[in-house]
């Protein structure tokens, strides 16, 4: 036994590399249904406390649950997108425990026959060689359940306030297999889930408001060991970055403990974003017996072929399908495709752009460059991007046909169009005299003037200092005050310098 305890921060890479980290996640997503899971009470974040609470939400005596079919559809949508087996006869169970924010004294959840089983989601991380590595993280299952209310402590420790607005909000919980091995993979996994639920319009994925939450189960084992180590559950992370920080810290903490001869205890720990550390909850951990049993107030739900077909027909294109399509149909690089499918709004915009211009790669560059910069600067979503695809396509066409230069387009025309999105790019360019000079005669004069002014450089170029070409082009462009078509200038110079 080593007497001094190793601190997590002191753990060297060498020690860390002795262990494999095994991580599994439970991700909860609040569904974007109009009403709650088992009642018509409104489902909305941010309302005044205790305003969306009808008889059933408060579990008044004599109330009975009635399943919201929309929530079921959302869960099935997620299941279909993840290649899960959809349980065609699904059952709701009661999970019994007492807590003030749980009005019925039990939560309606799914235990034995959850709506989706198996399946998984593809994540991409950067490999040690810098190249992207793909990996599928398997789901154990996805189940539907209702959210609890919120307990608010008023600060003086004498009273607890209860807000039942959230009680009964539909959730899907995705329970992964312990397939994740690092903080990076864990971050990529949550990112992929968030992206997917947004694509599917089932959840807004907002982690700060708690509409997407996750619990991390993490353990370590020496490389090569078959059986899992003792797992620790971590809660209270409200961003992907914090999830990754929590995993990173907990990994170090467990290695430090193992290396100091300590024992890892099975427990729930809270992540503290300020310190970046995890803390054991100072409550007595008793084994909860939830006494699951089928809810006798709800009949088993049988999903008909017809209903399943309807849900399938309404499925939107998924990010990986779009990535493939962009690479194959538009011939853009895989990297571009991944960037453009980050959100479904961006992907849709790209597709629309491609219906107005055949310069697909250029279109992609515009979106990844100027458009993304604009979004980053303004903090806006693609949904709020002011330019119609047809307008941006018009601008791209002007550049591609040499009517205006790329730099004029990005630095002058684009900002002007953002200011006034109703203008036509061509009229704008004409009004501002941005059209490129393609008059060969005029340009030839300029080229001659420039070459005549720099005889030494011309000699040097002819002797093999080919790099000087850029200098000549620059000078010609300057003389034309940016109106010259650089392509044409290049051609003319090449001719003259032969």
């Amino acid at each position: 036994m080593i007497s001094t305890t190793l601190q997590p921060a002191e753990v060297t890479d060498e020690l860390l590399n002795k262990y494999e980290t095994v991580i599994g996640l439970e991700v909860h997503c609040q569904l974007l249904t109009d009403s709650k899971l088992f009642t018509t009470d409104i489902n909305r974040f941010g309302a005044e406390p205790n305003t969306n609470i009808g008889a059933l939400t408060l579990a008044l005596p004599g109330t009975l649950p009635k399943l919201n079919k929309k929530a079921l559809e959302f869960a099935v949508r997620m299941g279909l997108a993840c290649g899960c087996t959809i349980t065609r006869r699904t059952i709701f169970d009661r999970k019994n425990y007492f807590y003030p924010d749980l009005p019925k004294g039990y939560q309606i959840s799914q235990d034995k026959a959850p709506i989706c089983q198996g399946g998984g989601i593809l994540i991409t991380t950067k490999g040690s060689d810098g190249k992207p590595v793909e990996k599928t993280i398997r789901f154990h299952h996805i189940h539907l359940e209702e959210d609890a209310g919120k307990s608010v402590h008023d600060g003086n420790d004498t009273a607890t306030l209860l807000d039942y607005n959230r009680a009964g909000t539909p959730l899907i919980e995705m329970v992964s297999e312990p397939d994740l091995r690092s903080a990076e993979e864990t971050g990529a996994y949550v990112t992929a889930i968030r992206q997917l639920v947004r694509y599917l319009d089932v959840c807004d994925g907002n982690m700060e408001e708690g509409s997407l939450r996750c619990d991390v189960n993490i353990s370590i084992r020496p490389w090569g060991q078959e059986e899992f180590g003792t797992k620790v559950e971590i809660k209270n992370m409200n961003s992907i970055r914090n999830i990754m920080r929590a995993v990173e810290y907990e990994w170090r903490r467990q290695v430090a403990l193992a290396e100091s001869g300590g024992t890892i205890t099975q427990e729930t720990r809270m992540f503290d974003a300020d310190s970046g550390q995890t803390y054991g909850m100072r409550v007595k951990e008793t084994m909860n017996d939830y006494r699951y049993f089928p809810d006798p107030d709800l009949c088993p739900v049988e999903l008909s072929d017809e209903w399943m077909e309807e849900v399938k027909a309404k499925m939107p294109a998924l990010p990986n399908e779009l990535r493939e399509k962009f690479v194959n149909q538009y011939g853009i690089p895989a990297y571009d495709a991944a960037q453009l499918t980050d959100t479904k709004e961006m992907a849709a915009y790209f597709e629309e752009l491609c219906s107005h211009t055949a310069h697909y790669k250029t279109a992609s560059n515009w979106l990844m460059g100027p458009v993304k910069s604009y979004l980053n600067e303004t903090g806006e979503d693609m949904e709020a991007f002011p330019l119609k695809a047809v307008v941006l396509a018009g601008l791209i066409e002007l550049v591609e046909t040499g009517v205006i230069s790329h730099s004029t387009a990005t630095q002058k025309a684009f900002p002007a169009l953002l200011e006034n999105a109703e203008q036509s790019p061509r009229e704008l360019a004409e009004a501002n005299n941005w059209l490129q000079n393609r008059n060969t005669g005029e340009l030839e004069t300029l080229v001659d003037e420039v070459l005549a002014a720099m005889p030494d450089k011309v000699t040097a170029y002819r002797k093999g200092k080919k790099g000087l070409l850029g200098l000549f082009v620059g000078e010609v462009m300057k003389k034309s005050r940016g109106t010259a078509d650089p392509k044409l200038v290049n051609e003319l110079l090449a001719e003259k310098l032969k």
Binding site: L58, A59, L60, P61, N96, P103, G105, D289
Partner: protein
């Protein structure tokens, strides 16, 4: 005032101007007052019932009254009625008023029934004697030292003593039929899912049924017809069409009837009950019906199955009564855990606590398979056995109870003896079939005896028609 057997008689006199709803309500209010010792009502809505009676009288006058005009009803204290208290005979719901109305209650109100008050019952409908009520026991009008049965004891005693024309009760293992038998009235437990449970305080969700207690089969049929049918608030209610039961009460032809041999041979059944049951079976044979003894090999499993599953469901259903949002909250609580423990300990009576503990035990991880899972399997077997018998016979019959009404306090210290009072009634709830209790005379001491008939699920029209015919047969024999 005249004793009315059926609503049809009342409506005849209302139309003829012989009486009015206001007069009827006044009469029942006076009866309630003079029978306070029965403790049948927890709360009486005197002014409200009178003013509603005047409204209904006006509608009768204008010839636009509902089908239940003239029906003065008592409602068991387990059915919600907006703006009225409901507390399932329990201290834990002290002061609780429901903001909504049970579907069954709403439907009778929509047909102009008048609710005169809420009726005493065993706490959370758990009991067979009406002695577990926080409001104290109800007494049997045939002998005030005896129980009226339970759990709908107040509802049965009220009809028996003429405190209202009919009652709405609930039946989880016999809670309508057993008190009906003890009180000489008709009690109907419909098929599971025939009447919506929305607004019925749950005891055991997969067993609970709302059911009427009346003086005639005719009124039971009419009340069922009004209350039954699909309801968007209850996922377990049947969407089957509701037959016009009240229009199909004439029985024609012969029936195939199976009876449990033990019911007329077992020493555990009181001699007078065996005798009355045998006599009735003989009469049926004489009328040309096929009456045969049947075997129910699983009989001994009925009660254990019933008690394991109902207590399991009850332990969860009653978790919401925690002192946090409504009802009784202990003033002694110091923290969250003591708030739960003290509120629930103070709020629930012994029988309810016993069943919550039993149910919590059978659902606990280490015993779940041995009890809950096994009981679910046995339930399925009992269903199969009963369904098989119901393909061979139109009706399965038995006495409703092995004894007549027992003395107050007699079985309070012996829960197992008390549970045996349900031996003949639980089967219908375990399998979800409809069953009815009709009066079948009395023993030498004048204590009522009930006869039970059970039919295939959702065959209430046959059950009611045959029961109607049977009551005529019994009455004819009585008068002969």
């Amino acid at each position: 005032m005249k004793e009315y057997l059926t609503l049809a008689d009342i409506q005849h006199d209302l139309r003829a101007g012989i009486t009015t709803c206001e007069e009827l309500v006044g009469h029942y209010l006076a009866r309630i007052e003079s029978n306070r010792h029965l403790n049948a009502f927890v709360e009486v809505y005197a002014d409200e019932a009178l003013s509603r009676a005047r409204e209904v009288d006006a509608r009768i006058h204008e010839d636009r009254a509902g089908r239940l005009a003239g029906m003065v009803l008592g409602v068991k204290d387990v059915l919600c009625h907006a703006g009225h208290g409901v507390q399932a005979g329990s201290h834990i719901l002290d002061g609780y008023n429901s903001p909504f109305t049970a579907t069954a209650v709403q439907r009778v109100l929509d047909e102009d029934a008048i609710v005169i008050g809420r009726q005493n019952c065993d706490e959370f409908a758990m009991g067979s004697s009406n002695e577990s009520s926080y409001f104290g026991p109800v007494r049997n009008a045939a002998d005030p030292d005896r129980v009226p049965g339970g759990s709908s004891g107040g509802s049965a005693a009220a009809v028996q003593a003429g405190l209202c024309h009919a009652s709405l009760g609930s039946d989880t293992g016999g809670s309508v039929r057993q008190p009906a038998a003890f009180c000489n009235v008709v009690g109907l437990k419909p098929s599971y899912g025939r009447i919506s449970r929305w607004g019925l305080l749950a005891y055991a969700s997969s067993f609970d049924c709302v059911g009427p207690i009346t003086k005639s089969v005719e009124d039971a049929a009419l009340l069922l017809e009004v209350m039954a049918g699909p309801d968007e608030y209850d996922s377990t209610v049947s969407t089957r069409e509701v037959p016009a039961y009240s229009q199909q009460l004439e029985w024609k032809g012969t029936a195939r009837i199976g009876y449990l041999r033990e019911a007329i041979e077992s020493e555990a059944v009181e001699p007078a009950i065996r005798e009355r049951t045998s006599m009735l079976l003989d009469q049926l044979r004489e009328q040309g019906h096929v009456v045969e003894p049947i075997e129910m090999p699983l009989l001994h499993y009925y009660l254990p199955t019933y008690y394991i599953l109902t207590t399991a469901e009850a332990s969860s259903n009653l978790s919401r009564f925690d002192g946090v949002r409504y009802g009784h909250r202990s003033t002694e609580a110091k923290d969250l855990e003591s708030l739960y423990k003290k509120s629930r300990t103070e709020g629930f009576g012994d029988e309810v606590r016993r069943r919550i503990l039993l149910g919590t035990f059978v659902l606990s991880a280490n015993y779940y398979d041995a009890y809950y899972t096994k009981a679910q399997r046995v339930r399925k077997l009992i269903k199969e056995e009963t369904e098989r018998l119901l393909t061979q016979y139109d009706f399965l019959v038995s006495p409703v109870t092995p004894t007549t009404a027992f003395r107050l306090g007699e079985k309070m210290d012996d829960p197992l003896q008390m549970y045996l009072a349900d031996i003949f009634t639980v089967q219908a709830n375990v399998v979800g079939a409809p069953a009815i209790s009709v009066p079948n005379g009395t023993d030498a001491a004048g204590l009522p005896i009930g006869f039970q008939l059970m039919s295939r699920p959702f065959a209430e029209e046959h059950l009611l028609a045959f029961s109607n015919y049977l009551m005529d047969l019994i009455n004819a024999a009585e008068n002969a």
